[in-house]
Amino acid sequence: MKRYSAFAVAREALRDHTGWGRAWHKAQPKKRYDVIIVGAGGHGLATAYYLGKNFGITNVAILEKGWLGGGNTGRNTTIIRSNYLQDPSAAIYEKARGLYETLSQDLNYNVMFSPRGVMMLAQTEHEVRGYQRTAHANSLQGVETEFISPKQVKELCPIMNIDGPRYPVLGALWQPRGGTARHDAVAWGYARKCSEMGMDILQKCEVTGVRTEGGKVQGVETTLGPIDCDKLGLVVAGHSSVLAEQAGFRLPIESLALQALVSEPIKPCMDVVVMANTVHGYMSQSDKGEMVIGGGTDGFNNYTQRGSFHHIEETVRALIETFPMLSRLKMLRQWGGIVDMTGDRSPIISSTPVGGIFINCGWGTGGFKAIPGSGWAMAELMAKGHSPLAEDFGLNRFVEGRFIDESVAAGVAH
């Protein structure tokens, strides 16, 4: 595969961009692989990449029912941060954020990681105390965050109205090295490297059944025929319960719709990410100039990848109080994704009751930021049978009552 570089851009400019080649090869399924990963979202692709890079396992197929990156990975609002409360979360999210810092170099693919800073507004006394606690926890965990004053908030984000009558801004939890990245590029960059290592990415290949024998996985049934494997990784986000049922076990997961919207593009007006959890809205400005806005989830199980009007209205109504300049903006597009929610709002990275089957799910409304760290941990778990980063995120935590409660840190969907 050709390296991408400034030199390559110049070379191709001189020959009408005819020499770029495909970023990943088109594959036909083999009869058998050492490892099959179901789901070519960010987490599945990152798992495959680190299996190859860190453990030399490259006889790997990644099966995707739609198109690569077409699930939540291509539908999210791309906020990256690691200011969670509990130690296991801080460890994996900060690992991921750290990997994002150099991901473009590692993958030789510009993922446009932009550590522009993320602020989570405190708009009630309760939130002030909650975020101060998180800031203290973060400094013990080695995650750089700070509780800042309303004045600092206004300096960092002048378009904000900090003394709104209903929800004045009382301060914010500020993570200067949080930010955003280009979601598609993260999926494409990992996919290109996986393909370069000889892995097969099979798109339009839906897994319809899981074959097991004597409590151990044998392979999968797919729309492209049966494929055998030694180990199987299920990384299908909102469809985790469907795949688990095929494999014969249950999960503490419910699938809900989460939606986002973008405005028409406008001139740069905001160079940080702002999250307002009390009013359930968050916003950043994309490089194209669109205001990228996300809100809350539906309260009921849903597989439709759509949103609903009243949620848009709620989100926008709430944000306008804090960002009055939004009121005249037209909204361009709106979409939904199916997010996989656990009771404690923490993910599951785990072996399963079936031998050889591993699962990575439960990232819910906030797993884009975790992609590199999650792939790293999942690859280690699948290659070696255990992973320090994944340890606390096992399925057994629900039997043992060892929750990793992030319902406050995760507060709003992001």
């Binding site: 539906d298 597989y303 609903s308």
Partner: protein, 109 residues
Amino acid sequence: MLIFECPYCGVMAEETELTAGGEAHVKRFGPGSSDEDFETYLFHRENPKGVHFERWRHANGCGKWFLAARCTNTLEVFGTYPAQTTRPPEPILEAIRAKRPGFQWRDLA
């Protein structure tokens, strides 16, 4: 937008009048039950891509809880019934089976 007929007050209630309450007909297990039953009761929920039985509350209406059969994939509503019902009523099951041959849901349908 979802629309349910409230089985108590007969109002055709839309989503913003209602609060979702999760899976219906959950069997409760308390102290003294096996670890597995307790875990299942607390955390495991049906999460079908298809017809599901759920609790809903007519929050901005008569305020009462009721149960409903709804497809999570098409959002089609197959019927609503009072919360005091211990299993899905037969007419609703028939309506579902007519459209979804072989339909199953836990050990209740």
